[in-house]
Symmetry: C2
Subunit: 205 residues, 2 copies
Protein backbone atom coordinates (compact mmCIF):
# COMPACT_ATOMS: atom_id res chain seq x y z
CA UNK A 1 0.00 0.00 0.00
CA UNK A 2 1.48 3.33 -1.02
CA UNK A 3 1.81 6.49 1.06
CA UNK A 4 -0.93 8.18 -0.97
CA UNK A 5 -3.52 5.87 0.54
CA UNK A 6 -2.77 6.72 4.17
CA UNK A 7 -4.18 9.87 5.80
CA UNK A 8 -1.37 12.15 6.97
CA UNK A 9 -2.81 12.29 10.48
CA UNK A 10 -2.44 8.51 10.74
CA UNK A 11 1.18 8.71 9.56
CA UNK A 12 1.76 11.35 12.23
CA UNK A 13 0.66 8.96 14.97
CA UNK A 14 2.92 6.08 13.93
CA UNK A 15 6.11 7.62 15.42
CA UNK A 16 4.19 8.13 18.69
CA UNK A 17 3.20 4.45 18.71
CA UNK A 18 6.77 3.44 17.90
CA UNK A 19 8.14 5.60 20.71
CA UNK A 20 5.69 4.20 23.27
CA UNK A 21 6.32 0.59 22.17
CA UNK A 22 10.10 1.10 22.36
CA UNK A 23 9.64 2.46 25.87
CA UNK A 24 7.57 -0.61 26.83
CA UNK A 25 10.23 -2.92 25.37
CA UNK A 26 12.82 -1.06 27.48
CA UNK A 27 10.64 -1.73 30.53
CA UNK A 28 10.80 -5.43 29.72
CA UNK A 29 7.21 -5.76 28.49
CA UNK A 30 6.86 -8.24 25.60
CA UNK A 31 3.17 -8.24 24.73
CA UNK A 32 0.62 -5.44 24.82
CA UNK A 33 -2.92 -4.61 23.71
CA UNK A 34 -4.47 -1.67 21.92
CA UNK A 35 -6.13 -0.86 25.26
CA UNK A 36 -2.86 -0.72 27.20
CA UNK A 37 -1.13 1.26 24.45
CA UNK A 38 -4.12 3.60 24.22
CA UNK A 39 -4.13 4.15 27.96
CA UNK A 40 -0.47 5.18 27.88
CA UNK A 41 -1.03 7.58 24.98
CA UNK A 42 -4.46 8.98 25.72
CA UNK A 43 -5.70 7.64 22.38
CA UNK A 44 -8.68 5.29 22.06
CA UNK A 45 -7.93 1.62 21.44
CA UNK A 46 -10.31 1.68 18.47
CA UNK A 47 -8.26 4.49 16.92
CA UNK A 48 -5.02 2.55 17.36
CA UNK A 49 -6.49 -0.61 15.81
CA UNK A 50 -7.89 1.42 12.90
CA UNK A 51 -4.59 3.23 12.34
CA UNK A 52 -2.58 0.00 12.31
CA UNK A 53 -5.12 -1.79 10.10
CA UNK A 54 -4.04 0.48 7.21
CA UNK A 55 -0.77 -1.45 7.12
CA UNK A 56 -1.77 -5.05 7.84
CA UNK A 57 -2.68 -7.47 10.63
CA UNK A 58 -0.25 -7.00 13.52
CA UNK A 59 -2.11 -8.42 16.49
CA UNK A 60 -4.19 -11.48 17.24
CA UNK A 61 -7.63 -11.39 18.81
CA UNK A 62 -7.15 -12.28 22.46
CA UNK A 63 -3.34 -12.34 22.52
CA UNK A 64 -2.58 -8.72 21.57
CA UNK A 65 0.55 -7.34 19.93
CA UNK A 66 4.03 -8.80 20.22
CA UNK A 67 5.89 -5.58 20.96
CA UNK A 68 9.19 -6.43 19.27
CA UNK A 69 7.38 -7.57 16.11
CA UNK A 70 5.22 -4.43 16.01
CA UNK A 71 8.31 -2.24 16.56
CA UNK A 72 10.02 -3.89 13.58
CA UNK A 73 6.96 -3.44 11.41
CA UNK A 74 6.60 0.23 12.32
CA UNK A 75 10.33 0.80 11.69
CA UNK A 76 9.92 -0.73 8.25
CA UNK A 77 6.81 1.31 7.46
CA UNK A 78 8.46 4.57 8.61
CA UNK A 79 11.68 3.54 6.81
CA UNK A 80 13.78 3.84 9.95
CA UNK A 81 14.87 0.19 9.84
CA UNK A 82 18.13 1.67 8.57
CA UNK A 83 19.96 4.81 9.69
CA UNK A 84 19.55 8.08 7.79
CA UNK A 85 22.36 10.59 7.57
CA UNK A 86 21.18 14.09 8.46
CA UNK A 87 22.82 17.44 7.73
CA UNK A 88 22.66 20.13 10.41
CA UNK A 89 22.85 23.77 9.35
CA UNK A 90 23.48 26.32 12.08
CA UNK A 91 25.67 25.92 15.15
CA UNK A 92 24.03 28.25 17.67
CA UNK A 93 22.80 27.04 21.05
CA UNK A 94 20.09 24.96 19.44
CA UNK A 95 22.37 23.45 16.79
CA UNK A 96 24.78 22.44 19.56
CA UNK A 97 21.96 20.88 21.57
CA UNK A 98 20.85 18.92 18.50
CA UNK A 99 24.39 17.74 17.74
CA UNK A 100 24.74 16.46 21.32
CA UNK A 101 21.25 14.96 21.50
CA UNK A 102 21.63 11.23 22.03
CA UNK A 103 18.05 10.38 21.10
CA UNK A 104 18.64 10.17 17.35
CA UNK A 105 20.85 7.17 16.82
CA UNK A 106 18.73 4.25 17.94
CA UNK A 107 15.71 5.80 16.30
CA UNK A 108 16.95 5.96 12.73
CA UNK A 109 19.00 9.14 12.41
CA UNK A 110 22.58 10.37 12.67
CA UNK A 111 23.80 13.93 12.23
CA UNK A 112 26.85 13.44 10.03
CA UNK A 113 27.46 16.77 8.29
CA UNK A 114 27.47 20.12 10.09
CA UNK A 115 27.56 23.62 8.62
CA UNK A 116 27.79 27.21 9.78
CA UNK A 117 28.64 30.46 8.04
CA UNK A 118 30.55 32.02 10.96
CA UNK A 119 34.31 32.04 10.24
CA UNK A 120 34.92 31.72 14.00
CA UNK A 121 33.06 28.39 14.01
CA UNK A 122 34.13 26.92 10.66
CA UNK A 123 36.85 24.31 11.08
CA UNK A 124 35.93 23.69 14.72
CA UNK A 125 34.67 20.39 16.07
CA UNK A 126 31.20 19.53 17.33
CA UNK A 127 30.46 16.12 18.79
CA UNK A 128 33.38 14.68 16.82
CA UNK A 129 32.42 16.26 13.50
CA UNK A 130 34.06 19.16 11.75
CA UNK A 131 31.96 22.29 11.26
CA UNK A 132 32.05 23.04 7.53
CA UNK A 133 31.65 26.33 5.70
CA UNK A 134 27.98 26.78 4.74
CA UNK A 135 29.23 27.98 1.35
CA UNK A 136 30.14 24.33 0.63
CA UNK A 137 26.73 23.03 1.72
CA UNK A 138 25.34 22.13 -1.71
CA UNK A 139 28.49 20.46 -2.96
CA UNK A 140 29.05 18.38 0.20
CA UNK A 141 25.46 17.27 0.67
CA UNK A 142 25.21 16.23 -2.95
CA UNK A 143 28.47 14.26 -2.73
CA UNK A 144 27.19 12.35 0.32
CA UNK A 145 23.72 11.82 -1.13
CA UNK A 146 22.11 13.18 2.05
CA UNK A 147 18.36 13.73 1.78
CA UNK A 148 17.43 14.98 5.29
CA UNK A 149 18.45 18.22 6.98
CA UNK A 150 17.79 20.25 10.11
CA UNK A 151 17.72 24.02 9.75
CA UNK A 152 18.75 25.81 12.95
CA UNK A 153 19.76 29.20 11.52
CA UNK A 154 18.20 32.61 12.22
CA UNK A 155 14.86 33.35 10.51
CA UNK A 156 16.51 35.77 8.06
CA UNK A 157 18.81 33.05 6.68
CA UNK A 158 16.40 30.11 6.66
CA UNK A 159 14.85 30.48 3.20
CA UNK A 160 18.23 30.88 1.47
CA UNK A 161 19.63 27.82 3.26
CA UNK A 162 16.48 25.89 2.38
CA UNK A 163 16.79 26.75 -1.31
CA UNK A 164 20.37 25.47 -1.29
CA UNK A 165 19.38 22.28 0.53
CA UNK A 166 16.60 21.55 -1.95
CA UNK A 167 18.97 22.24 -4.87
CA UNK A 168 21.41 19.74 -3.36
CA UNK A 169 18.80 16.99 -3.24
CA UNK A 170 17.40 17.28 0.29
CA UNK A 171 13.78 16.06 0.43
CA UNK A 172 12.94 16.37 4.11
CA UNK A 173 13.65 19.44 6.27
CA UNK A 174 13.16 19.86 9.99
CA UNK A 175 12.92 23.62 10.41
CA UNK A 176 13.67 25.28 13.74
CA UNK A 177 13.69 28.83 12.35
CA UNK A 178 10.45 30.63 13.23
CA UNK A 179 9.28 31.20 9.65
CA UNK A 180 7.36 29.24 7.05
CA UNK A 181 9.54 27.95 4.22
CA UNK A 182 8.61 27.90 0.55
CA UNK A 183 9.60 24.55 -1.00
CA UNK A 184 8.66 22.54 -4.11
CA UNK A 185 5.81 20.07 -3.70
CA UNK A 186 8.10 17.02 -3.49
CA UNK A 187 9.93 18.38 -0.42
CA UNK A 188 8.56 17.79 3.08
CA UNK A 189 9.02 20.32 5.86
CA UNK A 190 8.24 19.83 9.53
CA UNK A 191 8.30 22.80 11.90
CA UNK A 192 9.50 22.99 15.48
CA UNK A 193 8.73 26.32 17.12
CA UNK A 194 8.24 26.29 20.90
CA UNK A 195 6.21 29.50 20.78
CA UNK A 196 3.67 28.01 18.38
CA UNK A 197 3.20 25.12 20.80
CA UNK A 198 2.96 27.43 23.82
CA UNK A 199 0.42 29.70 22.12
CA UNK A 200 -1.68 26.69 21.28
CA UNK A 201 -1.88 25.95 25.01
CA UNK A 202 -2.52 29.47 26.29
CA UNK A 203 -5.69 29.51 24.22
CA UNK A 204 -7.00 26.81 26.55
CA UNK A 205 -5.28 27.53 29.87
CA UNK B 1 -17.46 32.18 21.84
CA UNK B 2 -15.73 29.73 24.19
CA UNK B 3 -12.81 27.43 23.47
CA UNK B 4 -15.14 24.42 23.41
CA UNK B 5 -16.71 25.63 20.17
CA UNK B 6 -13.48 25.85 18.18
CA UNK B 7 -11.94 22.74 16.60
CA UNK B 8 -8.46 22.09 18.00
CA UNK B 9 -6.98 21.97 14.50
CA UNK B 10 -8.17 25.54 13.92
CA UNK B 11 -6.62 26.68 17.22
CA UNK B 12 -3.38 25.03 16.10
CA UNK B 13 -3.25 27.17 12.96
CA UNK B 14 -3.76 30.51 14.73
CA UNK B 15 -0.15 30.74 16.02
CA UNK B 16 1.04 30.05 12.45
CA UNK B 17 -1.10 32.90 11.15
CA UNK B 18 0.14 35.17 13.93
CA UNK B 19 3.77 34.30 13.16
CA UNK B 20 3.35 34.97 9.43
CA UNK B 21 1.49 38.25 10.03
CA UNK B 22 4.18 39.43 12.48
CA UNK B 23 6.79 38.63 9.83
CA UNK B 24 4.85 40.65 7.25
CA UNK B 25 4.56 43.57 9.68
CA UNK B 26 8.34 43.36 10.17
CA UNK B 27 8.74 43.58 6.39
CA UNK B 28 6.73 46.79 6.45
CA UNK B 29 3.56 45.36 4.91
CA UNK B 30 0.38 46.91 6.36
CA UNK B 31 -2.50 45.20 4.55
CA UNK B 32 -2.83 41.66 3.27
CA UNK B 33 -5.42 39.25 1.88
CA UNK B 34 -6.32 35.67 2.67
CA UNK B 35 -4.80 34.82 -0.74
CA UNK B 36 -1.43 36.40 0.04
CA UNK B 37 -1.34 34.89 3.54
CA UNK B 38 -2.37 31.52 2.14
CA UNK B 39 0.33 31.66 -0.52
CA UNK B 40 2.98 32.28 2.15
CA UNK B 41 1.74 29.43 4.31
CA UNK B 42 0.69 26.85 1.75
CA UNK B 43 -2.85 26.96 3.14
CA UNK B 44 -5.91 27.73 0.99
CA UNK B 45 -7.39 31.21 1.30
CA UNK B 46 -10.82 29.64 1.92
CA UNK B 47 -9.39 27.74 4.89
CA UNK B 48 -7.91 30.91 6.37
CA UNK B 49 -11.18 32.83 5.98
CA UNK B 50 -13.11 29.93 7.52
CA UNK B 51 -10.68 29.61 10.44
CA UNK B 52 -10.80 33.34 11.23
CA UNK B 53 -14.60 33.48 10.86
CA UNK B 54 -14.87 31.41 14.06
CA UNK B 55 -13.74 34.49 15.96
CA UNK B 56 -15.41 37.39 14.15
CA UNK B 57 -15.14 39.64 11.10
CA UNK B 58 -11.53 40.74 10.68
CA UNK B 59 -11.30 41.72 7.03
CA UNK B 60 -13.40 43.69 4.59
CA UNK B 61 -14.46 42.42 1.18
CA UNK B 62 -12.13 44.06 -1.30
CA UNK B 63 -9.75 45.73 1.17
CA UNK B 64 -8.38 42.66 2.95
CA UNK B 65 -6.92 42.48 6.45
CA UNK B 66 -5.18 45.28 8.31
CA UNK B 67 -2.17 43.35 9.56
CA UNK B 68 -1.62 45.19 12.84
CA UNK B 69 -5.30 44.91 13.73
CA UNK B 70 -5.39 41.18 12.93
CA UNK B 71 -2.18 40.64 14.95
CA UNK B 72 -3.80 42.32 17.96
CA UNK B 73 -6.94 40.24 17.60
CA UNK B 74 -5.01 36.98 17.33
CA UNK B 75 -2.88 37.93 20.36
CA UNK B 76 -6.06 38.54 22.33
CA UNK B 77 -7.64 35.26 21.19
CA UNK B 78 -4.49 33.27 22.00
CA UNK B 79 -4.13 35.22 25.28
CA UNK B 80 -0.62 36.38 24.43
CA UNK B 81 -1.57 40.07 24.60
CA UNK B 82 0.24 39.91 27.94
CA UNK B 83 3.43 38.07 28.88
CA UNK B 84 3.31 34.65 30.55
CA UNK B 85 5.97 33.57 33.00
CA UNK B 86 7.28 30.11 32.18
CA UNK B 87 9.22 27.70 34.38
CA UNK B 88 12.04 25.70 32.77
CA UNK B 89 13.00 22.36 34.30
CA UNK B 90 16.28 20.81 33.16
CA UNK B 91 19.48 22.64 32.31
CA UNK B 92 21.13 20.32 29.80
CA UNK B 93 22.11 21.45 26.29
CA UNK B 94 18.48 21.88 25.32
CA UNK B 95 17.51 23.73 28.49
CA UNK B 96 20.40 26.12 27.91
CA UNK B 97 19.33 26.68 24.31
CA UNK B 98 15.78 27.42 25.47
CA UNK B 99 16.97 29.84 28.17
CA UNK B 100 19.02 31.74 25.57
CA UNK B 101 16.34 31.63 22.86
CA UNK B 102 15.36 35.20 22.08
CA UNK B 103 12.18 34.30 20.24
CA UNK B 104 9.97 34.08 23.33
CA UNK B 105 9.72 37.59 24.66
CA UNK B 106 7.92 39.48 21.92
CA UNK B 107 5.62 36.54 21.41
CA UNK B 108 4.08 36.30 24.85
CA UNK B 109 6.48 34.29 26.99
CA UNK B 110 9.38 34.74 29.39
CA UNK B 111 11.34 32.01 31.14
CA UNK B 112 11.57 33.34 34.68
CA UNK B 113 12.19 30.34 36.91
CA UNK B 114 14.81 27.68 36.19
CA UNK B 115 15.37 24.33 37.92
CA UNK B 116 17.79 21.44 37.84
CA UNK B 117 18.55 18.60 40.24
CA UNK B 118 22.31 18.51 39.62
CA UNK B 119 24.19 19.95 42.67
CA UNK B 120 26.91 21.15 40.26
CA UNK B 121 24.37 23.34 38.45
CA UNK B 122 22.18 24.51 41.35
CA UNK B 123 23.04 28.06 42.40
CA UNK B 124 24.63 28.83 39.02
CA UNK B 125 23.34 31.48 36.64
CA UNK B 126 21.67 31.01 33.27
CA UNK B 127 20.73 33.99 31.15
CA UNK B 128 20.63 36.16 34.27
CA UNK B 129 18.50 33.78 36.32
CA UNK B 130 19.59 31.57 39.18
CA UNK B 131 19.29 27.83 38.69
CA UNK B 132 17.18 26.55 41.60
CA UNK B 133 17.12 23.13 43.22
CA UNK B 134 14.40 21.03 41.58
CA UNK B 135 13.44 19.90 45.09
CA UNK B 136 11.97 23.40 45.59
CA UNK B 137 10.03 23.33 42.31
CA UNK B 138 6.52 22.93 43.73
CA UNK B 139 6.94 25.54 46.44
CA UNK B 140 8.50 28.17 44.16
CA UNK B 141 6.12 27.73 41.24
CA UNK B 142 3.14 27.92 43.54
CA UNK B 143 4.48 31.09 45.19
CA UNK B 144 4.88 32.77 41.80
CA UNK B 145 1.55 31.53 40.46
CA UNK B 146 3.24 30.20 37.31
CA UNK B 147 0.96 28.07 35.10
CA UNK B 148 3.24 27.18 32.16
CA UNK B 149 6.36 25.03 32.16
CA UNK B 150 8.89 23.49 29.79
CA UNK B 151 10.19 20.05 30.66
CA UNK B 152 13.70 19.43 29.32
CA UNK B 153 14.80 16.61 31.61
CA UNK B 154 15.75 13.02 30.66
CA UNK B 155 12.87 10.68 29.82
CA UNK B 156 13.28 8.78 33.11
CA UNK B 157 12.65 11.92 35.18
CA UNK B 158 9.91 13.54 33.08
CA UNK B 159 6.81 11.96 34.66
CA UNK B 160 7.93 12.71 38.22
CA UNK B 161 8.69 16.34 37.30
CA UNK B 162 5.34 16.58 35.53
CA UNK B 163 3.45 15.30 38.57
CA UNK B 164 5.12 17.95 40.72
CA UNK B 165 4.38 20.70 38.19
CA UNK B 166 0.71 19.74 38.03
CA UNK B 167 0.53 19.61 41.83
CA UNK B 168 1.98 23.13 41.92
CA UNK B 169 -0.73 24.50 39.63
CA UNK B 170 0.88 24.26 36.17
CA UNK B 171 -1.78 23.85 33.48
CA UNK B 172 0.28 23.86 30.26
CA UNK B 173 3.44 21.80 29.71
CA UNK B 174 5.77 21.87 26.74
CA UNK B 175 7.49 18.51 26.93
CA UNK B 176 10.86 17.91 25.28
CA UNK B 177 11.45 14.52 26.92
CA UNK B 178 10.78 11.70 24.43
CA UNK B 179 7.94 10.08 26.38
CA UNK B 180 4.20 10.58 26.67
CA UNK B 181 3.13 12.14 29.94
CA UNK B 182 0.11 11.16 31.99
CA UNK B 183 -1.72 14.29 33.20
CA UNK B 184 -5.21 15.14 34.49
CA UNK B 185 -7.76 16.21 31.89
CA UNK B 186 -7.49 19.93 32.72
CA UNK B 187 -3.74 20.02 31.93
CA UNK B 188 -2.52 20.57 28.37
CA UNK B 189 0.67 18.99 27.07
CA UNK B 190 2.42 19.75 23.80
CA UNK B 191 5.27 17.55 22.63
CA UNK B 192 8.47 18.50 20.85
CA UNK B 193 10.49 15.50 19.73
CA UNK B 194 12.67 15.97 16.64
CA UNK B 195 12.69 12.22 15.95
CA UNK B 196 8.90 12.06 15.76
CA UNK B 197 8.99 14.86 13.17
CA UNK B 198 11.82 13.22 11.21
CA UNK B 199 10.08 9.84 11.16
CA UNK B 200 6.96 11.48 9.87
CA UNK B 201 8.99 12.70 6.87
CA UNK B 202 10.92 9.51 6.14
CA UNK B 203 7.60 7.78 5.55
CA UNK B 204 7.18 10.04 2.51
CA UNK B 205 10.77 10.67 1.35
Amino acid sequence: MGPVDIPDIVVGRLPIYLRALSRMALEGIRVTSSHELGRRLGISSAQIRKDLSHFGEFGKQGTGYHIQFLIEQLRRILKVDHEWEVALVGVGDLGRALAHYNGFRNRGFRISLIFDSDPAKIGGQLNGFEIHDAARLGEMIRARGITLAMVAVPAEAAQKVTDELVQAGVRGILNYAPINLAVPEEVYVQYIDPVVHLQRMTFYV
